[in-house]
Symmetry: C2
Subunit: 395 residues, 2 copies
């Protein structure tokens, strides 16, 4: 039994930071403790018996601290903390998916340069160990795709709509009341959270980094009651899906609402849960399912990242280092459902072909094939319009 002790300097004491504190209080491990916590507002009353500071230097200059855990919201501040820790040779765990999605390649280099590990399993899918499994287990060339529900808040809202017939506004309000959605829910609802997780996952799954701006990201904020009705009539549910799929030597990425049929595993992923389907050449499909949000599930995932350090675990980035990678492409066509309210918006998208077209006073839609490249090009413009887009797979 190794005698290594982890003395944590913690940045941030929001939902996840407090969750980590609670988990440690409950299990009282002998070799892991929080020494000090750095927060923005030190005057705020907090229910925790540990020293708080508002100066990062107090953490980095504390000789008792040999480990940094970064759980703050501000991505740029998180980047500075993680970078400073790596350069100082202090192992660090981060939960900031936005920061990682933008800076992961530089942070990988810094890990190597300073021989210091950065772990971040907790950043993608909360309590489900997706990154570690992609890194350690699905590490041969058999991986075909990874698709799933990567955001708990938006899935909670969609579940209430499709299972309980709630309307969008009420379900969003309920999600906020229960702490699953922020007061500004854009990050979850508009797909950004899913997108950042997908970027991180893709590095570990396929060894390919694609900047967030190059990937299609469509959220569920524009969905209306006609869209819900359309899905119900087809026996499908709308889910917000992140997808990374290898096709020959090409790689296709997207985050968008999808009309999911009943026989798909992710059809049944409900409430604030996340579910990921990993498809391989020889093992058909694997499905991992668990709580993707919340202080305690994510806090215990952070603790798994921390205790991995007791055994000197680090990501090997096996796929990044392998000789062959698929090439990211947007030159691919898929079928979408495109709903618009104003008739002139029909011409916003150039379909390669259409199979359905419906026009009435209040509800108009087209089902047709369109290229991913075109959707990416037009997605910012579409966000300004009263339109809704969802993938509508043939299956």
């Amino acid at each position: 039994m190794k005698q290594k002790k982890i003395n944590i300097g913690l940045f941030g004491f929001g939902t996840v930071g407090k969750g980590l504190y609670d988990v440690l209080q409950r299990i009282q491990p002998q070799n892991v403790k929080i020494v000090s916590v750095c927060v923005e507002d030190i005057t705020k009353k907090r229910d925790a018996d540990i020293p708080f500071t508002n100066r990062a230097d107090d953490i980095f200059n504390n000789k008792d601290i040999n480990f940094i855990v970064e759980l703050i919201n501000d991505a740029e501040a998180a980047y500075k903390i993680v970078k400073r820790a790596l350069v100082a040779g202090i192992p660090v765990v981060s939960g900031n998916k936005r920061m990682l999605a933008y800076h992961i390649m530089e942070l990988i280099k810094l890990q190597e340069q300073y021989n210091t590990p950065l772990l971040y399993d907790a950043s993608a899918c909360g309590s489900i160990p997706v990154i570690r499994n992609l890194e350690e287990y699905y590490d041969n060339d058999l991986l075909i795709s990874i698709k799933g529900i990567l955001n708990g808040s938006s899935n909670f809202i969609l579940s209430k709509i499709f299972n309980e017939g709630m309307n969008y506004d009420d379900s969003l309000r309920l999600a906020q009341e229960l702490g699953f959605a922020e007061s500004n829910p854009t990050f979850d609802i508009e797909g950004w959270d899913s997108l950042f997780k997908l970027i991180i996952i893709t590095v570990h799954a396929f060894g390919v980094y694609v900047p967030p701006k190059d990937v299609l990201n469509v959220g569920i904020g524009h969905m209306n009651s006609y869209d819900i009705q359309f899905a119900n009539e087809k026996g499908r549910r709308i889910k917000l899906v992140g997808s990374a799929e290898k096709m020959d030597d090409k790689l296709v990425l997207s985050v968008m609402p999808q009309l999911i049929s009943r026989q798909k595993y992710i059809y049944s992923v409900e409430d604030e849960f996340n579910g990921v389907v990993i498809k391989g050449l020889f093992y058909y499909k694997q499905f991992m399912f668990g709580q993707g949000a919340g202080g305690h599930p994510t806090g215990s995932a952070v603790l798994s990242d921390i205790t991995a350090q007791l055994y000197d675990y680090k990501y090997e980035y096996k796929k990044l280092n392998s000789r062959q990678h698929p090439h990211y492409t947007t030159d691919i066509t898929f079928r979408i459902y495109f709903r618009f309210t104003n008739e002139e918006d029909q011409s916003l998208l150039d379909f390669e072909s259409t199979s359905e077209r419906y026009l009435s006073a209040n509800y108009k839609y087209v089902v047709g094939d369109i290229s991913l490249a075109q959707l990416i090009e037009k997605v910012d413009m579409l966000r300004e319009k009263d339109v809704f887009i969802a993938a509508y797979p043939h299956d």
Copy 2:
């Protein structure tokens, strides 16, 4: 990028051995190859372009071989091969769950003594990386229970019965035709396969080894149409479930048929799939689901064990080495459904209390509470009788 090369001496070329060969043929890795295969019957025609031998010495004395993969059925022969490899300092992968369930503690000591790794993720749940996740990720004190469908063949049969109304004999025959069940299906049907997996999983989940003979093992071989009808009337399905559950500082293990209600995750695990529910104090439930049998899924799991060696991975047996373990107990009561055909068999079991009792000419049953210790004591005797037992949880 490390330049380590793995040159395999393979024992066994049955379903999984051939599966591994196929997977390697398909992906053609640069640093993994099969050098030679040892089989019992060297005269049998095999569709593979590699040297075969029937002498273990040819493998162990081959200087080109630096890795042993053991995929044979005979548990005692497998034990000798694995032991010999470890003593010789050759890393080894085994898929033999029966052998591991009996010899795991000695093999752990040998790994340490000879500083040589033995990996066997493929032995439990085929393509689902259960052991590695328990070892690496769920490694703090938060784990409460692991329950699941650990055997694909029996689950295939139960699925055909409950989903398609097939009878037992037809569904067994179909399972055999499709290669999911052996010509002698006792190993799968009577729970042994699930039991051995549960023993291995428990070592990694809770750091506790319990010999197979001390654990309740009841199969589905005695199930008849009345039992199926009973389950259907209650809106439940019969599933063969392996369970390891911590209750305070106690640990309860069992393999037995269970009447599973619709809201449980494992209710929907169908056909030859395995599904494992991991429950923790802070992350509620996680569910892992995938193909648990078949040459290609298991072959690719074996390959994951092999390639882990490229990065010097070994099990740390963190929980075995930790300071506290739960104590295995059989002093626990649970509700069962007990069906018997001959009225005198009613007195075979002493129930602490009964809540239902039904007697007719052809069908008789009792629902009641009984101790695990008594079931273990009487299970061998019950196998000789025309009776069926299933756990009937209250949920």
